[in-house]
Structures are given as C-alpha cells and as structure tokens.
Amino acid sequence: MKRKRNIKLFEPALVKQAVVQSFVKLNPVYMMKNPVMFTVEIGTIIMAVITVISINNAAATHESFAYNFTITVLLFFTIIFANFAEAIAEERGKAQAESLRKTREDTPAKKLKEDGSIEIVSSSLLRKGDVFTAEAGDLIAADGEIIEGLASIDESAITGESAPVIREAGTDKSGVVGGTKVLSDKITVEVSANPGETFMDKMIALVEGANRQKTPNEIALSILLAGFTLVFLLVVVTLAPFAEYSSTVISIAALISLFVCLIPTTIGGLLSAIGIAGMDRALRANIIAKSGKAVETAGDIDVVLLDKTGTITIGNRKATNFFPVNGYSKEEFIKCTVLSSLADHTPEGKSIIELAEKLQHDMFPVNADSAEFINFSAETRMSGVNLKDGTQIRKGAWDAIKKWTDNPDHVAEEIYSKVKEIAGNGGTPLAVGINKKAIGVVQLEDIIKPGIQERFERLRKMGVKTVMVTGDNPLTAKYIANQAGVDDFIAEAKPEDKLRYIIEEQKGGKLVAMMGDGTNDAPALAQADVGVAMNSGTQAAKEAANMVDLDNDPTKLLEVIEIGKQLLITRGNVTTFSIVNDVAKYFAIVPALFMVTIPGLNALNIMKLSTPESAILSAVIFNALIILALIPIALRGVKYRPIGATGILIRNLWIYGMGGLIIPFAGIKLIDVIVSLFFR
C-alpha cells in the first residue's frame, strides 16, 4: 500500500498557516529577493503616505481620500496574494516533508564503541563515521551503510511499500535509511551523514523554501522580469511630463496603479511558488533531489541509460521451453533438469521447476533422497546434482557444459544450433548434461514489463533517446532492445562502459541521465547530468548521484524528466499570460487617464468602462485577483503532453497566449460593472 501523499490543494490547516506567512513575508528584507513584488511594496508604501495626506488635503493628491485608500488596500492585497502563493507552496512542501521527517524522530541507537562495547545513545548524537548496530525489532537510528551482516528491513515508512527488503553488507544493496525497521537478523551500520545533513534533510529544506536557492533558469527569468519592470517604470515615470505637456494632471494614485498593472506581477508573484511546487512534486514521487537545478536539468535530458533488469524486464529470466536433443524424450529431459534444479534457489532455477510443474504435473514430487547437490561455482560455471546411483547431472552455459561433456560432433552441433537459435531470439540457453553427455537445452527468457513500450514511445516523442544497459551478449541484447523499443543498447556492459557511453554522448552536447545503485556505478552517476541513485544503493552511489529515489524504482527516471519539463512549461506559460495581460490593461487605464483633457482618446476605451476611476480600480483588482486565480496552476503545474515541441508550443500559445489576451478584457469589464455600482 502506498503512503497517502496527496494533500488537498487548499487544505484548511495549511491555508491558515499560509495566510499568517503572507504577512510575515511583507518584511522588505525578504521582499527584496523578488524585485517585481518589491516595487509593488514600495508603490504601496507611497500610496499609504498619499492616503494619509489626502485625509486633510485631498486636493493636493488630485484624488479623494476614499479612492486613495481603496487603491492602497488593493495594492496591499496584490502583495499579500503573491506572498500567499509562495507561502501555500511552502506549507504544502512542509506538510509533505513532515511525513518524511516523522521518520527522523529521536530513537535510541546502539552505538558501537571502539572497544567493541555497546552504548545506548540518542540518534541525534550520532555523527558521520559512527558505527551502530541494529537487530530485529530495532528502528535504524540514522542513514548509513551496512558494514557487516544482512537483514530484512521494513522500509514502508519511507516508500509506503509494505513488503520487506533485504539489505546486505558489501553488496549493491547496503544502504539503510534512518527510521526504517529491522525485521530479522542483525546488522552493523556506519553513519553516513551528520544529523540535519542527510539527503532527506536537504530535500526538506529545499521544499520548505528556507534554504531554497534560485535555479539558473529561474535567475534568468527573474532578470527578464526585472527588465520588464524597468521598462514600465520608465513608461510610467515619463508619462507624467507627457501629460503635463498636454495639460493633463495625472494623480500619483493613477500612475502607481498603472505601474503595478503593467509590471509582470502575475509571474513575479507566482515564480517562487512554481519552483517550490516543482520540488514538492518530485518529493511526492518519492524522489529526493539534492538541488532544484537537478530537477530543472531533468527536463532537458536527451539520453537515458536504463538497466535492462528491473527496468525493462521483470526482475529475472524465466524458463520458457525445454529442448531435448539426440533423441532424448522430453519427459526424461525435464526430469533430469528438475533434479539438477531442486537445490538451485536462483530465480532461474526456481522458474525451471515452475515450468516443469506446469508441463508435467504428474512427475511431482520428485524423489531426490540422499542426492548430493553441486552448487554453482565461478570456476566450473555449472551447478547440478550427483544422485546416489552415481548419476551426475549438470546444467550451465553451453561452453561450460561443452567442456564437461565429450559428445560426438553431430550432437554438439545439434545443441549449438539450438543454442544459437535461442540466443538469437533474445533468450538465454542453458545446456543440461547427464554423465558427461549433453541431453538438451533449456530456454530462459526475459519477460518485458507490460506497458514499457508505451513509456519508451512517450520518451521518444519528448525527444529522449533510451539506451538499454545489459550484461547479455549482443545478440540477446539486440532482440530485447527491439522487443522493448529502446533506441540503443550496450551489451556485455561493464560499469566503465556506462561511463564511456555517457562521456561519448556528452561530447556531442547531449545531456544524459542514468540510474544506478552499485559502488561501481558511482563514477557514471557522477558523470551523468542527472544521476538517480536508488535509496537501497551503496553510500558511494548515493553520494555521486544528484537524486535519490526512495522507492528504488528504476522507471522513476521517466517521471523525473516530466517533472522537470512541467516546471519550465509552467514558468513559460505564466510569463506569457502575465505579459499579454498588459494589452487589456492599457486599453483600460490610458483612456481613463486622459478622459478629461483628451476626450478623443475615449475611442480607445473599447471595453466601455463606466468612469476613469472605476476603470483604474477594475484593472488593479483584476491584476490582484489573477494571481490568486493562477495559484492552482502554479502548484499543480501545467500538464506535460508528449506531442512534440511545436505541438506543445501551439497548444500553450492558444491557452496562455490567446487566453492571456482575452481573459483580462472580459475580467476587467465584469469587475467594472460591479465596481461602478459602488463608485458613483
């Protein structure tokens, strides 16, 4: 069962917190980080002063006290709405993080002292390099790497997955996470990070916004928005002498209103919320990103390296066929094969027995009393059984079996042709021999995960090249690659082959992502532009990667890429919407400013707004409300569709470009109708 990770968009408790935060964030020191909204704050302060002046001397401000006051309040709410957007994004992130943080509560740790004795200390006192032990029933005190032992561990607190997992020292699955529970056996763990400095702590900080660093793209966009703000500052400031020339008096209230309406407050107010929400989405997918930049980069990935096993195919190979040779009967062959596999606990061995049971159910249970089982060894590369009557049965790769047997040529040839046929179809042949005579071949096959082809198709449409990495021989690899629909494969891959492939692609300017868990994956993870380590992986792998996947799900890369793209698209669309909005605001405000002195300009009042005051008020109100209205889009992100770059652009232009042009005309008119009921 997956942990419940869906927080309602406006969860009442969070909203309350966010409202408080919106006011706290008014602090100019904090506002200065956001130049667009900071100028609004300055404008509001000026308006507040003007309002105070107009209590006694309204004529000096050219507007009534009520009008000045209304504008001030509206500007104030514009800032509050923008702050609220950021605050609610942070609160949602915090809530998300909270569920993770629960796992980090203080637990007693059995710290192993240098003299070998055990001291019970609080987990918060554990430092990097300390060693502690944990046994069945214990909560693991801190993130670390198993240096001794093996245990089954319940990681459901982190992953939501209730099935226990095995973690073992010296393997690729030696990493443990604080807060998870040991179910059996005993392990010794070396702490990998000081409290507060673990990956998860970093991620929590990123989501909460406290230590959030702007990503490069966000900085570039901020600069562009600051540029727009400057242009409009210029436009508004110079408008005063222009007006003076035509003997028009424009009040400060009107100028500031025009300024705030023109500067890109919509995107300016939502920009950081969009960024935080992107991290939040990553976290919801159980990805711990070490920086916002990593998530952003993910959207640009051109090439992904995927391990065959576990990503493209289901776990392990399965037996799918028995092929006896040299006139052996199928029954006899199957029986021998089963005998040789009885003590073989590898997934392949088990699958042979499963298949045999299905084909010849009556054969079971097989009697193998007092037989001697021969385990697989790297030397012989065979496993098997010696029966008590002296019969020897062996199974293994054909070249190993071939050495062990002394067959006449025609048998060897018959087997070899079968072996070739199976390999050519993406299977793995397993030869079986009895008493130094080969008797047949078992076909093992990879089972391609259902739905994986569609996912690769989706990636292809995004422009991402998929590369399968496998230890299989090229023939088998090619077959599976075709079946799964990947674009390329690396066969008989050694860890350094991954690294070489990544460097090669990067030389061509491509951005490469990969997922890995083993220590020998670490160099490649570090080299890749986006390296995702599995949480179960070794410490070295996790350190080299820039993201950690808590679910240990190899297909997670695909999700990460979409989250990255979504982040950028949301930014781009809201920017477009925000800027295009200005067209309508001009048509509302400019005729209003000159309605008295240049009556001809009323021809530009195409919305037929009732009075100059109501026109300006309506534009300012619209400008504030639109921030509020777009918060859901900022938080959820614009859905990414793999319809090609041009397709996405056209779609977004219609919705956010055209929409941004039309909506304010309708919105301002509607608000004007309502406002003019009050301002008469």
């Binding site: 793209n217 562009l224 800027i579 001809g600």
Partner: protein, 564 residues
Amino acid sequence: MTSEILGIVVILLLMIVLSYPLGKYISKVFKGEKVWTDFFAPVENFIFKLSGIDPNKEMDWKENMKALLKLNLVFFIWAFVIFLIQDKIPIWNPAGIAGMEPSLAFNTAVSFISNTNIQHYSGETGLSYFSQLLVVCYMQFVSAATGIAALALIYKGLAQKKASDIGNFYNLFLKTNTRILLPLSVLVAVILLLNGTPDTFKGPQTIKTLQGDTVTVALGPAAPVIAIKQLGTNGGGFFGPNSAHPFENPNYFTNIVENVDILLIPMALVFAFGFYLNKKRLGIMIFIVMTVLYVSFTAAAVKFEVDGNPLIKKIGIEQATGNMEGKEVRFGPAASAFWASSTTVTSNGSSNSNHDSQTPLAGAVDLINMMVNSIFGGVGVGFINFFMFLIIAVFIAGLMVGRTPEFLGKKIEAKEVKVAALIILLHPFLILVSTAISSYIASINAHTGWLTNPSYHGFSEMLYEFTSASANNGSEFTGLNANVPFWNIMDGVIMLVGRFLPIIGPVAIAGSLAEKKYIPESEGTLKLDSYAFGIVLLAVIVVISALSFFPALAVGPIAEYFSI
C-alpha cells in the same frame, strides 16, 4: 489609384527578388568563399599592408569591439574637425560655405558615424563639396560597413561550436566596403546619372527663367552620395529636401530604384543569415516575420495617406488624389507613404515627402517603425536588434516547450538574457526620457521657439526627433526647429549611445554563445523555423514595442487622430 498600389507591389517584389541572390552572395563573402569580386583582393591586401593590420588574425568579441570603437573614434575626429574648418580648406568649396558651429558639427559628425544622418543643416548651404565627399559620402560607406561587419561577427559567433574567436572585424569591414557596398553603389550611381542626377564640382549655377527671374540652382557631386545614402541605410541627402529634390530623385523610375535600394541590403542580410548558418528555412521564416510587419504597417500608412486629410474631408471637399500636403506630384501619396514606411523600417531616413505633413496615423506608423527598429532595420544593425528580440522570444518559447531555452544549439542563460533585456530597454529609455525632458521644458517655457506646431502634433515632433536619433534613422518631422544647442547635443548623445551599445551588447552575446557547448537538436527542441515560433517572435516584437511606447503614442499621434 490602382496603378499606384500596383507600383508599390512591383517595388516590393523587386526588393525580394533582388535581395535573395544578394544574400547568398554576402554570405559567401563573409565565409571567404570564391566570389566574382575577388579581383579586389590585391587592393585589400595593399590597404592591410599599409595599415599593418593582419586580416587573418582571429579575434574574440572583446578584441573585435575594441577594433570597431577605435576605428569609429578616428572617423568621428575626422568628421568633427573637417566640419569645423571646412571654410579653411582651399579646395572643393566653390560656394564658399562657412565652418560649422561646434554643437552642430558634433551633432553632424555623430550623425554620420552612427549611420543616422540626422541633418540639422541643409546640404546646399551647410557643407562644402569637400565635406560632402570626404566626410559625408565616405562616412556613408564606413558607417554602413561598420554595422554590416558587426553582424558578420554575430553570424560567425552563432556558427561556432565551441570557440571564442568570432572573426576579424577589420577584414570583414574592408570586404564589406569593397565587395558589397562599392560595386552596388557604382551601379546605382550610374543609373541615377543617366536619369539626370548631377555629378560635378561646379558651384551653384544661376539661370534665368522664362519669366525673367533669376534662380540659383545648387549642383555638386550628388550621384555617388545618393547611391550610398540609399544602399547603406544612411539617408543623408545631398540637398536639403533629400529625395524629394528633383536632382536627388528625378522621376518615378529613379524613385523605384532608390526605394528598392533602401531595403535591398537589409533584406539580403536576413537571407544571408540563413545561408551563412545553413539554416535557410530559419532565414526565410525571419524574413516572413519582418515582411508581415513591414507590409501591414506600410499598408496602414498608405491607406491613411490615400484617404486624405480628415479635416478637408469634413469640409466636404473630395480628395481624389489623397493627402497631397508635403508630397511631390511625381510620386503621389501612395508611393510617398510607401517610401516613408520603407525609410523608417530600415534606419535609412531619407525622404521623398515631408513626414511632418502626413496624416496623424501615417506619421504614427513612421514612429512605430523606428520604435521597433528591427524590421529589416539599418544595414547590419537592424538584424542585430532583431537578434535581441530573437533571444527573448527563444527564452520564453523555450520555456513553454519544457526545455531550458536554446538558440541554435546554445543555451540561453542569465547572462544572455541580461544583456538582451538591457539592450531592448535602452531604446525606450533613450526615447522616453529625452522626450520627457523636452516636453517638460516645453510645458513650462512657451518661448523655446522649438515647436512650430502646438499641442499633440508638437509632441509628436519632439517624440519623432528623439525616436529618429535613437533608432539611428535620421528622418525628421521638419516642423521642429532642431538646430539649437539643446537638440544638437541631446540628439548627438542619443545617437552615439543608441548606435554603439546595441552593437556591443549583441556581439557580446554572440561571443558568449560561441564559447558554449553545442547541443544537437532533438524531438523536444523548440523548432525555430516553425510557424508557431514565428508567431511568438511576432508577438514578442509587437507586444514589447507596444507596451513600451503605447502611452507616448497615445498622447501624440493617436490623440491627434482622435481629436481632428
């Protein structure tokens, strides 16, 4: 009227048909491929030997910009000094024209090195033949070549995969003169000569008319000056009335030739961009975007002019010939409006009619053209300005397709956005601030003597002057009395800043992009040559320009239009 419109269509088609092969030729020149003008090579080598410059030394953007500024400083000093002392030079001054007043000399010198050619003097009475040829005509070549060579640096910068050098400015500069400007100018000058434009060192001639009056007719070596003035988007006329003068632009045929010349090189440089980078489709897409803007703005202006003066219409007088105020009868309102739009989209600024006398919205079109300043634009610099809009459009559209934005395989990051935003900001800054200052002075002091027209039109005149200066255009609303120190100096500074910063900034961007790693295109990459991106580009240009200038236009020409 139909034949007049037809005339415009013919001119437009001629421009396109001629600029396409010229673009291909220009790209070859810049790539250093074999071209028929290679016979100039010995001359070029001789000049390089003489000046001790190594034309094959590859330079980065900073070195190139230093070269550009150094060269232009020399040009400025040369122009400034000659204008001041032209009366002391013993040759080529048959009319005995006096030296210039310093603020006018400053304004005029800046005006010509910056390819602006604002003229606060009248050619016949303000300049000696020496100044006309060795300053004005010479500057019209080198200022045009400066802009084109700067653009060639940008082409190279964009083509580089990962290297800091972007070509050699000196080499590109000289080749632009010898291989592009010179051959074309000779061709055009000959056409003009054959149609009656004078080319002589004789002073003004006095003739007796049939009525018996005595008329002094100004002459001079006009043909070559006029040829390069049109080809190099210079616009500085030999005679005061510019291309309305019968010697500068004798007949409808020369009008066609000159109008084609105005846009020939600016258009060719768009195609050249496509050829140079092997992105022909992108070149054509940009050409279409520019043409859409050019044609729609021009069509509006032509319509307003052909419709005639609304005030006359109100009285009930029919105007079959359209608005003829300030027009030459041999061209008529349609061809005049077309010229006005052509000369303002490019930063040419020559005129065959009086822009000040146009109907308000036709005048607004001239203003908008100069405010955008990148629809074909000045030779070289027009495309350079457009390049800034490209960067912004790529940035926004890139985000919209979900990748960090790339332009031709290079990532657009904070640095590029910063420079592009500042350069785009500069143009409205110069125009709005200076217009604000002048309109403030005009509003508190009714006796400046600047404005010959009151009210909105007076505002338009000031706005036009500064827009023209900042856009390095050079055309004027002549109602403004601009030959006073305030305007001479203000204009001069604006022309300088508006000329060189928008060259340096974009070249710096190209230099920065050149050094970046090249990212090959994928399915997910924004397709720059798609119509969708064309629309984004169009929208970015229109929206940014409209948002920056709408209020200024509203209190000027738009207010005038709605008030008459």
